[in-house]
């Protein structure tokens, strides 16, 4: 440090840095706070398992110490960071979009699966098999530029409401998990989403909802094509073709492709997260596997082994066998969703 750089100036500079310091350094923030970093988690074995793990990997000199650059934490999204009932929110988005697009597509009145869908004929739709659902989702997710798609997601979040909770979907995130994400970042972790959901769908709102920037969101994707548009400007067109399914065995593949190193902490809630949990926990050194178990029909939903969305069967058995931490939503969480803004 230059001697001419006086103490008063140094302190002013430091105070001006405020937020940057708090964000970048766990120890200092903790020294300032001295409060419970996980206030929405009830005291008990689950909370202790989390805080013990973080203490072990962040304590210099400890045998389990992990340098900050290797503190990679991955989180499933649907059912782990936000609600996924009565249906994946992204499917509800697709249905709403197709309805909104219908006036511009009079031909849909005579074309399946649009005809049955727009008529609200679930039975006829079901009789068509699994394909129609994919067609509806693809219709809402392709045939437009990436910018236009992102706007359609942002607009939907403003207008749409959850059928049971009557709140915007991006408010139905889990308050205890928000605290966990912040707590990990305060302790030098880099937090990623690794979700079966569409990467371009999540990136629109994930930064604001979770503090996770676009480049730390890993998800499923469709093929995108670079073109020079009619106005001479380059654009990225979304094509109706699946490119990558970031689910089940696709999750460790996605982690390898996008992150390029093995996480030391993984959190999921369903069998779609099994391989991500296996891959994470098979690394050397201290590892943490966590599963959100939906046990709270009153405040959220109760489901697991036989659920249509969020089936937790094989991963449940392996969690028991391998000592992954099962979060009992009803018992472990003081609150589920954040207060209304």
């Amino acid at each position: 440090m230059k001697e001419s750089f006086g103490l008063a100036k140094l302190i002013r500079s430091i105070l001006a840095l405020g937020l940057a310091i708090v964000i970048s350094t766990g120890g200092f923030a903790e020294a300032l706070a001295q409060t419970d970093p996980l206030p929405s988690w009830n005291d008990g074995a689950t909370k202790t398992a989390i805080t013990d793990f973080v203490a072990r990997v962040t304590t210099q000199g400890n045998a389990d110490f992990v340098p900050p650059s290797d503190r990679i934490a991955v989180f499933d999204n649907d059912g782990t960071l936000w609600c996924e009932q009565p249906e994946y929110f992204q499917a509800l988005f697709a249905f709403d979009r197709v309805r909104a697009m219908a006036p511009e597509h009079p031909e849909w009145k005579e074309t399946e699966p649009f005809k049955s869908f727009l008529a609200g004929d679930k039975e006829a739709l079901g009789a068509l098999g699994e394909k129609p659902l994919l067609v509806l989702v693809e219709t809402a997710h392709s045939g437009m530029t990436t910018d236009v798609f992102a706007k359609s997601v942002a607009d939907w979040l403003v207008q749409a409401r959850h059928p049971r909770f009557n709140r915007p979907f991006n408010e139905l995130v889990y308050q205890p998990m928000l605290e966990l994400l912040a707590y990990l970042r305060t302790n030098g972790f880099k937090t990623f989403i690794v979700s079966g959901g569409g990467v371009e769908f999540m990136r629109v709102w994930a930064d604001k909802a979770y503090g996770i920037p676009p480049e730390q969101v890993v998800g499923s994707s469709g093929v995108v094509k670079f073109e020079i548009g009619a106005d001479g400007k380059p654009e990225l067109m979304k094509l109706p073709k699946v490119e990558f399914v970031d689910d089940g065995p696709g999750k460790p593949v996605g982690i390898n492709r996008f992150i390029g190193r093995r996480p030391i902490l993984a959190f999921g809630n369903s069998d779609g997260d099994l391989q991500m949990l296996q891959w994470t926990s098979a690394g050397s050194g201290a590892r943490f596997g966590g599963i959100v178990h939906h046990t709270d029909a009153e405040r959220e939903y109760a489901y697991d082994r036989r659920s249509k969305v969020g089936k937790l069967d094989k991963a449940w058995d392996e969690a028991k066998a391998k000592g992954w931490t099962l979060v009992d939503m009803k018992q472990d969480w003081k609150v589920v969703f954040p207060e209304k803004p």
Copy 2:
């Protein structure tokens, strides 16, 4: 801040934070340094174009101000951050690997393209067309786990030497570009590699060479498959199948897929970077497009329009038309490579 948190303690905490502060905040680091952040760049229009751009986008209140979260900078690798002559280094790696693997494959003595390659018969190899090169590269890049592959790259970097400079390949990075990367990060930019090279090849050494962590390296990739190995442990197997070519129009697609937002600065050196430069510079607000022009046969190499590796033809014309900054290696750089360690 708590009142009990005394000034002396505050200053001690702050000094202990040292590096974190310098990394996270441009202004403060600059105030401490007050030295030329780009010492290997000669003064002139090129250097001024860079520093002017950074000043414009980082000055609060300026019309061109860009918040730190949107300060995304992307860099091609071959020919932009490190040397790419007389051949892409990754191809030289593949050739060395195939030679090293040959004793375990006696059948290669009678199988093309291995037979001609191992016999050093370039003419016979050339007569087989383009496919043989791909077969050799795929052989070195598949049929093993991601961990085994990463080790083969690390081992090669220790042993192999550049045919002309007689230095390890990862020492043949451009000193002025290292300074540029550090300068941008000091000013709140997040730096990414966006290269046609293999992502798993680059991630092995990019962090040490450039300060760019694995999750900020975007590149071409082969298909990877999740498996439970013979020892019951999960592993990722590299298959001999191309998954994604992050070159030409693939670069903006890769940026969209991995980063999820449009860069404000892009640096390349060849036609393979054209679409990345177009995509970056077509965004609203201040944008910087840069091209490294190889003009220095004495210290490095001189090539452009008709080069086999690193052809700079269409992107050269568009750089002139659009006002992208052309770096003249011979004129703009005081040194090319870092001093030997």
